[in-house]
Amino acid sequence: MNKKSILRQAAAYPHIVWAILFIIAPLIFVAYYAFTDKEGNFTFSNIASLAEASYLEVFLRSVCFAFLATVICLVIAYPVAYFISRTSPKAQRILIMLITLPQWLNFLIRTYSWMALLEDNGIINSFLGLIGIEPIHMINTPFAVILGMVYNFLPYMIIPLHSVMSKIDPRLYEAAADLGCNPIKTMFKVVFPLSRSGIISGITMVFVPSISTFYISQKLGGGNFDLIGDTIERQFQTAYNYNLGAAMSFVLMILIIISMAIMNKYSDEDGGVIV
């Protein structure tokens, strides 16, 4: 029996070897580059240089942008997910399909087409011009970047929320109604606590890509304010400063782990999200 089970678990060995080679080893390299200089000597200077006010601001800005994008996604997605979950199974299937459909097109090109919409003489402003409203400057502003984030990651919020809500026993709604809850109260008192795990995974799935994006800020922000992703990307693709780039990635990774840990702590009662 024992021999057999060892034999059986051997099926996982290729994956374990793969994971060591291509998941663990690369992360060791990130740490290695983060703590060495160009000649390969051990140093703290890369990490220390991130403590400069301007880098701190880059981090703060990224966190703020990602935070706002996440909150907005949650606020927009919650009623949508709730509404979808209350429709018939067939309608649910089609609506969810429609939510995921845009994701099949590459996000780069979808973001690019937002540029055409938001430009000073873009489609939205020309439309506003037609109905006699002064053009609004939107592109290259924090607003545009956050909009890009919300747009790209909104489905990541709707889907987990919906998949939790669709599993809520409809009898609970009846029970709540019987006990005198109006629909809004039901939403807050019944649905909200029950969908907590969906909220948590939605938040993670929006926050993590938002904080590390570089494409959206490049295109919709015009490269005028760096986010963490931009700074990292520049170190690797243009400035050729791997050590600083690795240090930033290292810190970003730590940042994410910490925020995941906090999230986990909050969701402990409900069984926790993935980590």
Binding site: I16, W104, D169, S197, V208, N224
Partner: protein, 843 residues
Amino acid sequence: MKKGIASKIYTGLVFAFLYLPILVLVLFSFNSSDSTAVFEEFSLKWYKELFTDGATLNALKNTLVLAILSSVISTVIGTAAAYGISKMQNKHLKNATMSVTQIPMINPEIVTGISMMLLFVFVGTLVNSSSSLGFGTVLIAHITFNLPYVILLVLPKFKEMDKHLPEAARDLGCTPLQSFFKVELPQIMPGIVAGFIMAFTLSLDDFVISYFTTGSGFETLPIRIYSMTKKRVTPDMYALSTLIFVTILVLLLLSNLVSDDKNKKEKSKKSSKLTKILLGSSFGLIGIITIIVLCVSAGTKTLTLNVYNWGEYISDGGEGSYNVNKEFEEYYEKLHYDKTGEEVDVVVNYTTYASNEDLYAKLKSGAGGYDVIIPSDYMLEKLKKEELIQPLGKVNDIKEVIPNIKHLNSQFSEMFVYPNSDGELELYGAMYTYGVIGIVYNKNMLLPEDLEKIENGELGWELFYEKEYLEKYKGQILQFNNSRDAAGTAMYYLGYDVNTATKEQWEEAFKLLQEQKPYVQSYVMDEIYNKMEGAQAAIAAYYAGDCLAMIENSVDENGETFLGFFYPTKGSGEDKIYETNIFADAMCIPTGSENKELALEYINFMLSEDAAVANAEYIYYSSPYDHVKDNFDYKIYTGLYEYIYKTDENGELILDENDEPIHVLDKDGNKLYEATEDGGDYAVIYYSEFENSLKEMFAKYAYKDLDTAENAKISTSQLNTYWEGLKIDSASFGNDVYIICAVILGAIIVFFVYSFIKKRRQRRFYWNNTAEPKKAPANNAPDADAMSETMTIAILKAQGREKEQNVESKKSPTKKAISKTLPITRTNKALKVTLPKDYFKRK
């Protein structure tokens, strides 16, 4: 009822938001012009163009091959791994495996990407390979990030499976293999299919990880789109997206309809049949593509030439122009056949970069494997010093290797020639073009008084750096997005020599850039095309040839261009000083090239009259080759027709009574060609001004590399540090975002504190009245591991406990009680993974 309508409208709005950009995309794919902002009239032009755009189709093929290979491999490894993990007895090993598996899901993509890149670069230097990055590395990266999804989708299936089934099968006489294929496999199939599709779509859509791990010539569709969005996205990409979108839409609708029909007829067989269809079609697809790939690769010998060039720096066949790469492929195939009688398939793998620094970073990262690159003069010197490029040949016999180089204007014969260790002279780069840096401006957006100043030559870099002009054109100025050129323009304004400036002078330049920053609309490289042609910015500094291309592209309905270009100068005649730098780009062969002979052949082809003229006409840079400048078509195209004079049979100019040369005239005595208001005029000045003194110009105005130049006082990395300081500084950035963030955060904290206090009170009250339902069923769970524990709880609760607890919750419907009663919250533990399975299964 009223509420129903409100929520419908709301959901409709959200859908409108999601589909708005797609609508734009679809609409503009039918636009007759190449503008992605103004719709002219309906046309199918871009759909036709798409099927002649070899690079895009090639990228599409790469993407599909990559997605299929990576998803198949990760499905196989992942399914085996899920089986192994489900059989693991050692809990620690199991937990460790699971945690490591999830790392790529949690880590931001950019971190996964760069971590793998660092590994590959390290391994590359270890085995001293010049081309460590490429298809292989992207494939490994894709498998790595696909694996966790496959495992987490398949694993639950193994857990759900009744343990006794395989035993029963064995009892009934199955061999273990038979029992696996006949009993176990069908049970886990939905998980495998979901995993496969998930992996496939993830791989198809991935940009960030491929971006960091790809090397020479391997371009996936997202990477191609990325490099396109830097310059301008040709609407054929929109056309392709539209096609993809429609295909997916139809497929999804069909599968929905199919499953609906089945639903009515035979509910139980539905999933297995659908599974079979999906599986069958996906394996069919894999088969077909593999066969195609094999056929293509096995049929004839394939020679691949990896060319890495600036964006829009070659005549690419767009809009009926000469397709240099395609012509070369045909030319060489014929040449090879004539020489050897052997058929060969030549593929030019053409990829682009946006700046010399990007090229350098790519070569340094070990993404070698390039055969031809086109760096600028200073970068060539740096690459030569670091031995990243190899000599094209000895100067004495270069004409045998690259016959067409004989057309190079004699002024340039000494450029890019370096002695080797034996003192022999070697040529490192075949000159491609030369140009200057100048200012491109929008005539409609600049104030008349400033336009006049420009025309009188009274305005130079002041336009870019003086407060007066900055205030006037705030938010309409574009600056270079690279340290070297941006700082360079500041240095010219300050009047310092870029090659000998002191550290303090450079710091002064960066201080100037810092002051300029709040007025700058954005820092751009190739993006400048869109911005200037779309009249989104008034002034920008850029390279001459590109500026001329923009001017050519921005002609209004009257045939007039709204853009203008000049380069700042001071003085006139003998004392004229150019406040800019002159640069030359040259074709080089990197050290790691595996196909030097073919590369030389390509360079020679680029210098042949047809190709060289086509390139010069397409890219608008000045050509250093006599046969281009003397080409009749080219003269007309650029406006150099002014130089088409009457000559006698000896080639001597025939002069009129004022000793002026006589233009070639038609029989009515009119000039043959009329001047047009496009780049042509400029080209005339360009050539006439630089033509005879280029050698001196280069000596005087070349902007050397800071690391290799003798007199440079700072290094490139120092320059980059300054630049880094400029880029991350956010003087122009208001505090609004922070304030909003703080307010929301405050509100959330207040809410949590409030609900916490409220909960505490309720709990105390609740505690006194009833005992809380505990997580008792965990002990009764037949399987001790976490996943099935939650499953069991769910099942148990769903069956029996639910009733009793519902009663409980009716008694005291507090938040706490309800959240404790419901099993669902726990079963959704692995929600992040279960969600794709959910929506794929549905279809």
